[in-house]
């Protein structure tokens, strides 16, 4: 490993190799800087938010006079000071509301003080008078015409042209998918399974809470330092909302301590900015407590899915009808696109000729629903993947075989009318069934335990606007080490390592010569839409590859000119330009900054090498509002399979996952070791998510906002065996064929577990979480019924 930054071993041609993470040394020594670690000196003030105690209420009065009298309090900011909204796809979220609150915990004011303790105390002194309104928490109820209306002004909000809110209702998005004719297909079905599947709200639970620091300089320049998946999107949305010229707003994001979607878009960061505006010249730090993290940032939306699927006697899927109701929470500025993604992918990874799908995002008086790892896919696969097992059982077919028969294949015309890019899902199914010893019944570890296996498959496309861009800069240093600059973020997935590998590969230098410029800083880093949607290896990767190729072209042209040869005859190997023709060599370090002299030093050629590259998909088309049909709905899909082996303690209802086997088609593993790390970590995240639930009382107040009451998987809960594997079917426009895999790895874990529980117990659970209590009660119930 590196000592004092000097690598002892060099890796040439690093693409496809499991090189160590570029950020590993910093992270194991405590040197890696996270937002809360940045030092701002004694002028730093602290912010605290005053949050609503009602789920739905009119704001009658806000009185901050007592808070303002407290020594150390510098400012109190309310909606009177910032009467504006913010949002990505639907601009529906007031920074501080002036008329009503729509969720317990909604910020109604912010306090700035000289210490966190004083800010905390002062926030309690802000008096807010409310008039309670009826609230609604269930998305199906909220979608009814007589439900309490959360956004009477829905028709006036600005909205992206592919989102369709329904003013006068709580429906913020309705996506319709119509393919073939389901009504005429049902009579042809031998087996039909219909069910309602539910998922509760859960939270991302990054170990690093949200931290934002902002400084509003008297000059009008504004800086926001924060842990962000989306420095550029935050700059764009905050600049628009607060009417700051984009060039005056700088967003700096050091390392991110886990994101999972919770640090995408804008959540609490904007509050640091509006608080800083009230105390110009002083940086203001706003740090979420762990309690706030659970309900006061963003959450994964709940889902109620009514789904019906049918197949013929041979197991061919014929028809599917589904309605997805996403509980979007109080504001759906980001969540509307989750419902849309769930709509255009509503069948899961299956070729079904007749489909009627409706996907709704619905306002509810719950914490804001937003992006979470998988973006709608874990939610819809929960029901789909159980129904597939039920259908297979009805026609007496092996569930893995049933999936092989029906899963989407290269060249298929999929539900939206788009042609499926090259993938191999069957190979993924084969790999996981082999790894789990599918078809072999394993012995339970004790007489009171039952053991079972389950399989589930998935697909997911990057869910985003049609044209999100990436850009990259590659610039050399004097010794031919080089800096790669990207606006993409490393959340732990390994983005910086992968872009370094790509640049080194193109430029013929060892991986160890590459540095990636951190932190991401909108003032200096090239543009990146957001680090979301498993799009970085693919999209930023393409930009980095292009930037490195640009730099390479510059180098070869200079050296070819110098040698009076053609660039085509030259190559770069091990940090040297070589000629296959004349067998000459030129070390990079002697030319990448200073260029090369002409003969007899009669002038010079070349100069500092700086390559630039960009990538933006240009081929995604609009979808018809009535049918969801279009030429190309998405850029591509990543597909995969998981199989689970578990056992249940029938005396307690406790589930122990013994093994998870996963395989995904990643196109090309740029770093196989990092791919496996994603697959393993995702499997445990997926398993954990099956047991997680945010609980609320009848008034919408959160009940379990702590690590003790909201349990995430610990080291003893993780399966002893996690088997990972991948398939490499190249993606046409992926760098070296690569596509993303960061989110996919947890999408189908919960339904694979549900299928394994059914295999073990013969009981199906249609609602998450898979709590021990629920399973125990179901076993009791069956015993009472004499089962």
């Amino acid at each position: 490993m590196t000592n004092e930054g000097l690598p002892s071993a060099l890796t040439s041609d690093p693409v496809g190799k499991g090189v160590p993470r570029i950020d590993a040394y910093e992270k194991v020594t405590g040197a890696a800087v996270f937002a809360d670690d940045m030092q701002f000196g004694p002028g730093l003030y602290y912010g605290r938010l005053v949050r609503s105690s009602y789920a739905h209420a009119l704001i009658k009065r806000i009185d901050a006079s007592k808070a303002l009298e407290m020594p150390g309090v510098k400012a109190v900011v309310t909606g009177r000071d910032v009467n504006t909204r913010i949002g990505l796809y639907l601009i529906d979220r007031p920074i501080f509301p002036t008329d009503r609150v729509r969720v317990v915990g909604e910020p109604v004011a912010g306090v700035v003080a000289t210490s966190e303790e004083i800010a905390d105390e002062a926030a309690r002194l802000v008096e807010v008078e409310y008039e309670e309104l009826p609230a609604v928490f269930d998305p199906v109820e909220a979608a009814q015409p007589d439900a309490p209306l959360l956004h009477p002004d829905l028709g006036k909000y600005e909205v992206a042209n592919f989102i369709f809110p329904q003013p006068g209702t709580n429906i913020s998005e309705h996506f319709k998918l119509r393919k073939g004719d389901v009504e005429s297909a049902w009579p042809k079905c031998t087996a039909i399974v219909e069910g309602t599947f539910r998922l509760p709200r859960i939270q991302h639970v990054p170990i690093e809470p949200h931290v934002a620091v902002s400084l509003w300089e008297p000059s009008g320049n504004v800086t926001l330092w924060t842990c962000s998946q989306s420095p550029f999107a935050q700059r764009d949305l905050i600049a628009q909302s607060l009417d700051i010229p984009h060039g005056n707003l700088r967003v700096v994001s050091p390392y991110v301590g886990g994101g999972f979607g919770g640090k995408a878009g804008v959540s609490t960061e904007v509050y640091a900015v509006v608080l800083a505006r009230a105390v110009k010249g002083h940086p203001v730090k706003l740090r979420m407590t762990r309690e706030e993290e659970f309900f006061g940032t963003t959450t994964r939306q709940s889902l109620v899915a009514h789904t019906k699927i049918g197949c013929d006697a041979d197991g061919n899927l014929l028809a599917m009808e589904t309605a997805y109701y996403f509980g979007g929470g109080a504001y759906n500025d980001y969540g509307v696109n989750i419902a849309r993604a769930a709509g255009y992918s509503c069948t899961g990874p299956y070729d079904i000729p007749n489909v009627k799908g409706d996907s709704y995002c619905v306002y509810t008086n719950e914490p804001i629903g937003s992006a979470m790892r998988g973006f709608g896919m874990p939610e819809i696969h929960w029901g789909i993947e159980q129904i597939m097992d039920q259908l297979a059982e009805k026609i007496r077919m092996d569930p893995a075989e049933f999936r092989r028969r029906n899963c989407v294949r290269t060249g298929d015309t999929i539900l939206t009318g788009m042609t499926m890019p090259a993938i191999d899902l069957v190979a993924c199914i084969d790999k996981v069934t082999e790894a789990i010893r599918w078809g072999t019944k394993e012995e339970a570890s004790a007489p009171h335990k039952k053991r079972g296996k389950g399989v589930a498959i998935m697909w997911k496309a990057p869910a985003m606007p049609p044209n999100p861009g990436s850009s990259a800069i590659v610039r050399f240093n004097e010794d031919a080490t080089l800096n790669v600059e990207v606006g993409a973020q490393d959340l732990g997935q390994g983005a910086f390592t992968v872009v370094a590998q790509m640049a080194a590969q193109v430029l013929g230098v060892p991986y160890e010569w590459v540095r990636v410029s951190v932190p991401v800083d909108t003032k200096y880093s090239p543009y990146e839409w957001q680090t979301v949607a498993s799009r970085i290896t693919w999209s930023t990767g393409n930009a980095v590859k292009a930037a490195a190729e640009d730099a390479r072209r510059q180098i070869l042209e200079i050296v070819a000119d110098h040698w009076d040869e053609e660039p085509e005859d030259l190559d770069i190997k091990g940090g040297k330009v070589i000629s296959y023709k004349s067998e000459q060599e030129q070390t990079l370090k002697d030319m990448v900054i200073y260029g090369l002299p002409n003969e007899n030093f009669e002038g010079w050629k070349g100069g500092p090498i700086v390559g630039q590259g960009r990538f933006m998909p240009t081929y995604v088309t609009n979808l018809d509002f009535e049918t969801g049909q279009g030429t190309r709905a998405v850029v591509h899909y990543t597909v995969g399979a998981q199989a689970v082996d578990l056992e249940i303690d029938t005396e307690t209802g406790q589930v122990e996952v013994l093994k998870i086997a996963s395989a995904y088609d990643v196109g090309k593993a740029i770093n196989p070791d990092l791919v496996m790390a994603q697959i393993e970590g995702g499997a445990v995240h997926g398993m954990s998510s099956a047991f997680e639930v945010l609980r609320f009382d009848e008034a919408g107040r959160p009940l379990n906002s702590s690590f003790v009451d909201y349990r995430i998987a610990t080291s003893v809960d993780a399966p002893k065996e996690i088997h990972g594997d991948f398939v490499e079917t190249p993606l046409e426009d992926g760098p070296w064929g690569a596509r993303g895999v960061g989110e996919h790895v947890m999408v189908q874990t919960a339904p694979a577990m549900a299928n394994a529980i059914y295999d073990a117990l013969g009981i199906r659970f249609s609602a998450l979480p898979l709590s021990a209590e629920k399973i125990f009660l179901a076993l009791e119930e069956r015993e009472r019924a004499g089962g």
């Binding site: 020594t29 809360d36 030092q39 301590g257 886990g258 393993e680 080291s715 996690i722």
Partner: protein, 158 residues
């Protein structure tokens, strides 16, 4: 608010500090000594991101007052490497890709160090038990366990 004068040895260096009673060891390390490798994940003793060694024992530094550290020896993640040379445990975390976002890593390393000090050759089960108080949302723990095991085979904590 009483102010206390304390002497704490942090990563081998003696520090003389005056701290109010309510300041936690975590706050003292991060805000007074700028040793920000120790992370604040919950301030409730639940996530383990702030784990440090106090006289060799792993402690959630958010649950200990700075005054309680008076006269004692504290080791943070910054104290694990010597003159830029990673400890075997740190080396193993790098080699096994046991790090992702890196936020839990300092606490995990400290807990693992404490384990190897009292049990130089732990089983996988014992490693998992020892790390149960260190939450990680990224890795799924597998590589962390493998890294600790590999470090143990290499010759323990040092």
């Amino acid at each position: 608010m009483a102010i206390h004068s304390i002497t704490v040895t942090v990563n081998g260096s003696r520090e003389y500090l005056t701290v109010p009673s309510h300041v936690t060891l975590l706050q003292m390390l991060r805000e007074r000594l700028a040793l920000t490798g120790t992370k604040n994940g919950c301030e409730a003793g639940e996530c383990g991101a702030c784990t440090v060694l106090v006289d060799g024992e792993p402690v959630n530094s958010c649950m200990m007052l700075a005054v309680e550290a008076d006269g004692r020896e504290v080791t943070t993640v910054e104290g694990l490497a010597r003159e830029g040379q990673l400890s075997p445990l740190q080396e193993a975390f790098v080699a096994h890709n046991a790090v992702q976002c890196g936020f839990c890593t300092p606490g995990v390393l400290i807990s693992a160090r404490a384990l190897l000090e009292r049990n130089p050759h732990p089983s996988g089960e014992e490693i998992r038990e020892a790390l149960v108080g260190n939450l990680c949302r990224c890795t799924g723990y597998l590589r962390i366990v493998q890294a600790v095991q590999a470090a143990a085979e290499e010759g323990g904590a040092k």
